[in-house]
Symmetry: C2
Amino acid sequence: MHSHIVHAHPDPASYNGALTRAAERTLRDRGGTVTVSDLYGAGFDPVESGQHYPRRAEPDHFAPLAEQRHAWKTGTVPDDVTTQITLLEAADLVILQFPLWWHGPPAILKGWMDRVFVSGGLYTSGMRYDTGYFTGRRALVSVTTGAPRAAFGPGSRGGDFETMLWPVQYSLHYMGFSVLPPFVSYGVQGHGYSYEGRNSLEERLRGNLAAWASHLAGLHGIEPLRFPGWADWNEEGSALPR
Amino acid sequence: MHSHIVHAHPDPASYNGALTRAAERTLRDRGGTVTVSDLYGAGFDPVESGQHYPRRAEPDHFAPLAEQRHAWKTGTVPDDVTTQITLLEAADLVILQFPLWWHGPPAILKGWMDRVFVSGGLYTSGMRYDTGYFTGRRALVSVTTGAPRAAFGPGSRGGDFETMLWPVQYSLHYMGFSVLPPFVSYGVQGHGYSYEGRNSLEERLRGNLAAWASHLAGLHGIEPLRFPGWADWNEEGSALPR
């Protein structure tokens, strides 16, 4: 099994960094291969804009989806995007590793979706959802948050992860991935990067790394999340009565 | 009334551009004042990173929230962030204008939240939600999507806007804003920028601009969305039984 981790934290020494390294170790120890896209490390530009398309279909206006389709057709997809696509195409399992910032992924990862999920290339009107490009592959969100577990759930202060992660996870579903339930690391406080110390926070975070490793070791037994697909909609896209 | 529009589309001639100009015109015609942050036009950097903090509390590690607090305390908040904060502070109404990309805002707007909603400055553990910095101000999301109205709703192909916009709208609530229901422009197709032509798409989009203008003219009568607040949670942040 080949796994690819898309890693989106500005500090390699962060707890997110530790989670990514633990995943690499665990997946390799089990005989798999692993690649990592460190978006900050690579200086990935998350801003979809005309600057990425020097040979535009329409030089005077920038319609993002039209230019993505044109670039795919003419072989002018930006190099950094091609690199990311190649890494995704090789993977049986894709892990998105990020800290929860404002109830979602950091901008660098949001923009990775904006730019890498290329219209006309990785999806078309018929190649989406359960007929998506990555059908048969699995994806998994691993997210950290500073707040404790008790602060999450419907109506709770931090919000409900099912709602909060819906935009990211439904986007993965759109691309055809089978999306596994997310792994959430709670209570990752500012100095999470010093997690190798001795106090209770550090012990808890060390325990959570072990939980992450055994979660990854047991992935084969985990059912993907259920999202609606083509059989659930009429031609206009409205949900059919069940 | 003073309004501030945060505008996040790469093409000024886009339909998003038309919506922002219609809002400016309408709000001014009604005697108000309006400012606009054109994030693409300003080249706003949405990537929160150590590079924005040359005088770090911890030069060897980058813990974003700790550095935001340190910058606030030491008066070293990045200039582009200070500019955005000043514009927000002056506004009675804040409008976020953006196209729906991958079930959420473009990266440039996501990162505007990541960087501008400064920890220790615009929020603290006690100054959040209904005790937030912007309490008494209103905010409103105006979003465009290429898909038709029929494709949205619970279980429908495009997803449900209540879920989809929850991360953005709850973040505005976190900052203390009263969040008005979103204005959604459906069926904005690639060539929306040529909306001044004569075909049915263009007519529909022109009609939608008029609907947006009258929506803005009637805002005073609109009830904000309801989100939970401090009275709904125990000390740990769990939802209290109702």
